[in-house]
Subunit: 162 residues, 6 copies
């Protein structure tokens, strides 16, 4: 852990790090998270999916659109021309939990962790919004980076027990 907090200069002033000299490479990041809820809430979501009210479909769109807004939300993030965003929702009815994952890709000079993490976060918030009338106890959590490739700092895979 020898690197420093790169978003501050020597005097401690916040900067948008200069990535102009970094190589433009194909970069990818996978982030995950979850939203926990009462089992009955999740059943209701699943039932409606079988009908037509598509909670996950809407959360997926919200996540994709949020990924594109990342540099407008996170102060020191660079604007990026994302080439791909995908989200997955895995409902675990027994546990009353929906696992969410997002993959973002770019050909560029900086990584896309923040885009993937933002997609997961806003997808979870969107599920929360659509279910809050029936369940105010939902908890969003376990939002983390799972994998990252491209860029000179090398690939990253979260250790299994992470």
């Amino acid at each position: 852990m020898s690197e420093k907090l790169t978003h501050f200069d020597a005097e401690g002033k916040a900067i948008m790090v200069d990535v102009g000299d970094k190589q433009s490479t194909s970069r990818k990041a996978l982030a995950c998270g979850e939203i926990r809820m009462q089992q009955a809430t999740l059943k209701r979501i699943m039932d409606r999916n079988i009908e037509k009210g598509d909670v996950f479909g809407i959360a997926r769109i919200a996540g994709i659109m949020a990924a594109k807004q990342t540099s407008g939300l996170i102060p020191l993030c660079h604007p990026l021309a994302l080439t791909s965003v995908e989200l997955e929702f895995n409902p675990l009815i027994e546990q009353g939990c929906v696992e969410i994952s997002a993959t973002a890709k770019v050909n560029g000079q900086t990584g896309v962790e923040m885009e993937a993490l933002t997609a997961v976060s806003v997808a979870a918030l969107t599920i929360y919004d659509m279910c809050k009338a029936v369940d105010k106890l939902m908890v969003i959590g376990a939002i983390r980076l799972e994998q990252k490739s491209g860029g000179k700092s090398g690939d990253f895979s979260r250790p299994q027990d992470g």
Copy 2:
């Protein structure tokens, strides 16, 4: 738990719920969350705060600005003229954890849970962004509604063991 998923009409189509007939009242919501990291990472944040690189200060601004963008991020959220947003950061060095809380207020026809939850989420993502060069294992979690007042559905306080 008799209420239905209000963001869908009888046929299951997504709608922005009609709040036009709801009373305009003074509403408030308190949301909380946390970001867990290596103890060394948190110490570095705290040290820099003692110097001048103000991680929490920047995350606070990001959270406030994100609260104002909530209806642009969450598809079925109503636009709201927020009257106040405040964020608190409570670093727990022993546990390698920063607790984040956000309070949002409005005089309006619908609640501000989503604004408070969005402020917490984006503040956590901002801390992640500024520390990711030194710690890729950080986890954002426990994002939840703690309190809510105003509006006809009555006040809400999360049970202690929530």
Copy 3:
């Protein structure tokens, strides 16, 4: 037709019309439009709906979110706290046409025609985007105001042959 182009002052300069003295009333607008395509394209959309790829569901979300961005798109539009937005899609397979309608509501000092028209337009553009790989000949049209109520200028209903 005695009223003047209200978005210009006496010297012809563009202004955001002063609505500060207008009464805050409950206002509503209904706009419609359509997107014409090859019959085969529409069948494909409908088939996928029966599967899971929900073209209309995504267009609905895009329309709702666009309605909220109207004052950021149309230079002289007032920002409004919309209380409701709804969209309907009516596929006419024989004609190779999808009819789109949007209803917007507000309690405010100015009407919501532009919000309803923007919702229809962006929903149609979103359908176009999702089908353009299979059909480049689609045409968006007949975007118009159908009804409007609230406000001192009185209610409006488009004549049948409009």
Copy 4:
């Protein structure tokens, strides 16, 4: 018509298509549309142009700015660094019609049809907004792609009777 709806994966989930492996080429799109109105309305627009109230000038700016916001409006559109946007307005007084065309260009991995179509749509909506006090019967229509070049799928020109 053998291609599939590319914005959905094999399971029917919406995705922002991965364009990371497509070649970065010089791409261009030309979209057209029109807004029909009472002859008297169009005359008034033209008269004011001769004075100073420049309806088309404002609609042009709105169209250019909207083209830059396309990926924020259309859920599955890629963010693009547009290199050029131009709009033309062709008033046909006899027919009470304004023809609108927009050309967008990029050096990138995906086409700019949606940017050109969005520019035309928002320019038309802006004309509608500025004239709606004198004419509520205006109709926006015939929004379509006319030409497209660059990219591996080859050039496209709309057939004359399209």
Copy 5:
């Protein structure tokens, strides 16, 4: 000068000031500024106006649209439903100077100084952008509040020698 810096709480943390208990009144602000340039540059602007390239017309639209984005730009500004925005441009050819003024109005719980000042600033930047190919020495300055009315702190008029 006894008031404190209201955007910080007792501990020095930034807050979006709580205006929920302030009275909703009719508020207005007038801000002014200028952009200085070579006489030849200004003549060129004026000549083009006489032709058709309307520098001030575009700067006016930019200023109006920016006023609507103020709370997205200035971190601790409240979102406001502006009821009116107007800009004036006064070219002084002898001095090589364009005076810019903007008036913003709202019925709300907080003032609109920042909206008027933002409108002036972005209008000036827009003039700069359109003329920078012929004159890189332009200077934007004298951006200030001239008048303010509404709200409990009383009306303000800048002293003549301000």
Copy 6:
């Protein structure tokens, strides 16, 4: 001064200049400006900095975020993938003045003057906003381009007496 106003075509219509054939080079711009205030106001800012209310820290974040929004604010600006933004604040207590400078960088086909100038302007407006309760006489001024490099028009440095 032989170049023409490039943002207008031969007929005087506004265009987003076509930069598609310009070379993608490493470009940089340095802009400066200032905000003048009562000495007592500046002392208060400095005192609070010594405590914890970090006016310059917040203005720095606002400036960086505004730089990223430049093409959404200035109608004919191209969207750019900024690689770096930095701001400096230099308080001159005797003069009651804060000097602000911003450096923006990009690898691209067009310059970043407008991004640097926008960062300075919004940083100044943010300081104004945070201090306006104690000082309504502040004046923002001297916003100008100081240096520019990269691109075929050659490097620019403002003459000393500029």
